[in-house]
Amino acid sequence: MNCKGIIRELTDYLDGELPLAIKAELEQHLIGCDDCRIVVDSTRKTIEIFCRCEPVPLPEDVRSRLHSVLRRHLGKATN
């Protein structure tokens, strides 16, 4: 497998969806190719950083409007 092949298979590799034979071939390439190893590692970190980031609390004005709409539609008296 060459460097273009690594990029082509990158998503399936990171998601653990590559067939074993292709995965082995890809990892064999990574052993000898620093550039591909860095791309794989930094792409994985990109996903993880987004994946781990919690949302900020809902802005108070947005939250207030949401609950007001819900109370109105769910038939509950406004507090």
Binding site: C3, K4, G5, I6, I7, R8, L10, T11, D12, Y13, L14, D15, G16, E27, L30, D35, R37, I38, V39, V40, D41, S42, T43, R44, K45, T46, I47, E48, I49, F50, C51, R52, C53, E54, P55, V56, P57, L58, P59, V62, R63, R65, L66, H67, V69, L70, H73, L74, G75, K76
Partner: protein, 238 residues
């Protein structure tokens, strides 16, 4: 008047996420510095969710409001990530919660309530995105060959590069970087990597093929990697 001053919608980094399960699979592969990932929610929380859903189904409005309070921040972030427009995101969120309440009796409980809510929100958000930008959400595209995707800037990030930034600063960086993605790529990335929908589920929701989902996800991941490189490359000062 559209309010584009969205601010950051990404907050603190946490390891306690259900996402951790899939991340663990990723990190088990070679060449990976594995972080300690733990499931975000316990069985107790899931049972609690089931009890709240059951109570809401039987007409308990307080139980439904508890579900709303529990997920409102995540649902707003999801809608913002798809629409990148605060007004549309707020409308999508409100309609998603209202629709989930009015269709609650149809919810069979074969998936988590949150997953069901995500699907409703995605539909609401996509509807608004397509209305506002009808020419920017395409249906399909050829599978990548890898020829035009080779990254140009290749620099080691070192372990835990995000720790070089304060939480607020990191949230701003992530919001800016994801906002710069084309809607097609951003939506797939959000559904697959942040909300953890399967490739097939993402394809169904977006009305595109599985190869198109994979193709867009690859491009999205590489583009985000490329844009984060200047912040996270080793030795980059704060």
């Amino acid at each position: 008047m559209v309010n584009r001053d969205c601010g950051s919608i990404f907050g603190p980094i946490t390891w306690n996420r259900t996402h951790g399960r899939r991340c663990v699979d990723r990190t088990r592969q070679h060449f990976v510095s594995a972080p300690e990932t733990k499931p975000r929610e316990s069985t107790i929380v899931r049972e609690d969710e089931s009890a709240l859903v059951a109570a809401a189904k039987s007409g308990n409005i307080e139980a439904f409001e508890e579900l709303v309070s529990r997920y409102e921040s995540k649902i707003f972030r999801l809608a913002m990530n798809i629409t990148r427009n605060r007004e549309d995101a707020e409308d999508a969120m409100q309609d998603a919660f209202l629709k989930s309440y009015s269709h609650l009796k149809n919810f069979q409980g074969d998936s988590r309530f949150y997953t069901w809510l995500v699907r409703i929100t995605v539909n609401e958000a996509l509807m608004r995105l397509r209305k506002r930008r009808p020419n920017q959400v395409s249906l399909d595209e050829p599978v990548e060959t890898g020829d035009d995707l080779m990254p140009r800037e290749i620099e080691d990030w070192g372990p835990s590069p995000e720790q070089r930034y304060a939480q607020r600063e990191l949230g701003t960086i992530l919001s800016e970087v994801i906002e710069g993605l084309e809607p097609d790529y951003r939506t797939v990335f959000v559904l697959r990597d942040i909300e953890e929908l399967s490739t097939e589920e993402t394809a169904n929701l977006l009305g595109i093929s599985v190869p198109a989902v994979k193709s867009r996800l690859l491009r999205a991941r590489l583009k985000l990697r490329d844009r984060l490189n200047k912040y996270f490359r080793k030795g980059e000062p704060n």
